[in-house]
Symmetry: none
Subunit: 177 residues, 4 copies
């Protein structure tokens, strides 16, 4: 994953992947039939972890304001703890190698977020409008927030005060009224 993050999928060589993993190139091919399938597996693994982090943190019965805070904090924490994984997932293009199973994991996360938005809109807590658009705005804001760091610097997603400030701003974007 780290190789992909630093060099892009196409810019990474299996030799580099193997070396960082501390195994031989041939060994990778015992577990993955191709570079593409390895890319898929890496994507699914980390996208799945991000999804789990959210699902574990959010109480679906809580009011939107609360649920949103839980969601935002969970994702910011994930991005702070695994900055390279988050960068791999969100700052790159995966179309070249992502297959349907990989896409499915991504869709699960969107579905979760959509359910949250729709419920909030029905409760009059979230601004009306196409749910996918609101998700795109809010998730995009999160990605921008974590990216607003020069590589190597401690991610702003790790500063609790900043995380809270950003969360409040984004909630202002989502909330109804």
């Amino acid at each position: 994953m780290r190789t992909f993050t630093e060099n892009t999928f196409a810019g990474s060589s299996m030799a580099d992947v193997a070396q960082r993993a501390g195994v031989a190139v041939g060994s990778i091919y015992r577990h993955f039939p191709s570079k593409e399938s390895l890319g898929n597996a890496v994507y699914q693994l980390w996208k799945g972890r991000a999804l789990s982090a959210i699902v574990a943190a959010v109480d679906p019965m809580a009011p939107s304001r609360t649920a949103f805070a839980q969601m935002w904090r969970a994702l910011a924490r994930f991005a702070a703890e695994h900055p390279d994984a988050f960068a791999f997932l969100e700052y790159q293009q995966h179309a070249a190698y992502l297959d349907s199973s990989g896409q499915a994991t991504a869709d699960e996360l969107t579905a979760f977020a959509r359910a949250f938005v729709v419920r909030g809109q029905q409760a009059g807590e979230i601004r009306p409008g196409p749910p996918d658009m609101l998700i795109a705005l809010a998730y995009g804001a999160l990605v921008g927030f974590t990216r607003d760091v020069h590589p190597g610097a401690p991610p702003s997603a790790g500063d609790p005060a900043l995380v809270t400030a950003a969360e409040e701003a984004v909630w202002a974007m989502l909330r109804a009224g």
Copy 2:
């Protein structure tokens, strides 16, 4: 640019670039000494155009609400008219080949946005907080907004009603009070 957008910089071959440009591979090397320098030039060209589009559209003396609308519309329009250029600029990683001159163009855009935010904060029109964070949130929201499209589908950034709805939402995130 189109090749880079579709296949990633590292995933693009000079042969493909040449073919799409309708020239021979060797001809590219008469204008650019390397693939990297070509990447740089493409980046600078389009980042520069995006910057120009904003600068031309925004009245720096206008109230923040107005200036923001101008900025948002200019960028949404740019993304709608040049979806692949915008995708190349914003959905990808350029670290592998971007040199200082390329970075400089990117910094100009940030500087412009920062000036806007700072002025708005001084006027009490924009929410307090680190300007760069607010820019990251808003610009991230824009990127998310334009990205919220399955490839081939008409970009949401091209639908005037959606653009307005998104603009209002993002302004709600930025405005003071």
Copy 3:
């Protein structure tokens, strides 16, 4: 080596080298990081062998006349047994790719010859004059002698009578008085 001899270093392609070696192009790069380094290795290998052939054949305690005969015969034999290697070493320019380690091997041979000449001059057996000049004349004569062959013809360095005749002539050039 054979490719370099026939086509010059710059005129040889790695593909040709690989084909003659009976391996794939990529395999060469597992052993040598570049064409230059391959050229170096080839040079060092054969220059080293030529040096060994001399060192093994010459008795440094013998009178100059004897030692010279041993040296001349050893080199003539080397040139007759490895005409292409000798041609590679002596009929070509290596400046474009030879590094210091390659140069060092060449210098060893010169140093050996210089010691021989100096000792002979001290013993009054070899004509006075700058040792390096005498070496250049004699070694040049050897190179000329072996070169005096149209490609494909049996090398004159392989005809014992000719080798002896040449040796006597060159000794007449070197001997004192």
Copy 4:
């Protein structure tokens, strides 16, 4: 010629040749149909000049000792005045591009030298043996003599005392008795 000397024929580019000549690449092709033919012309030009230098300097009726001195001095002078031309002619391989007309010029020089040797042998002034072998030894010695210089250093062929010393040594190799 300078480009060929420094980089080898195969290692030289027409672009470099053109630049040093102060003309455009296309202009070369108005005078020479190909790189090979240019190589030929350069070879013939300089080999012809070397030949002329000898022919002009040598009195064919003079005794061998005298004629040899004239020949040696003429060539040493040529090598001293045109070190790069001499290096191009003698330190390199021309087989890859030399055609019959180029070879003819080289053969003329050999023929001239052979006539000298044969006449000297008939007069009992030059050591018996295959004339071509003696020529190879003597010409090889000359090449070695001029080569005995580190690039950039003033050529030993330019030091009159050295030239005379070398000439005497080489004559000792050739003379009868």
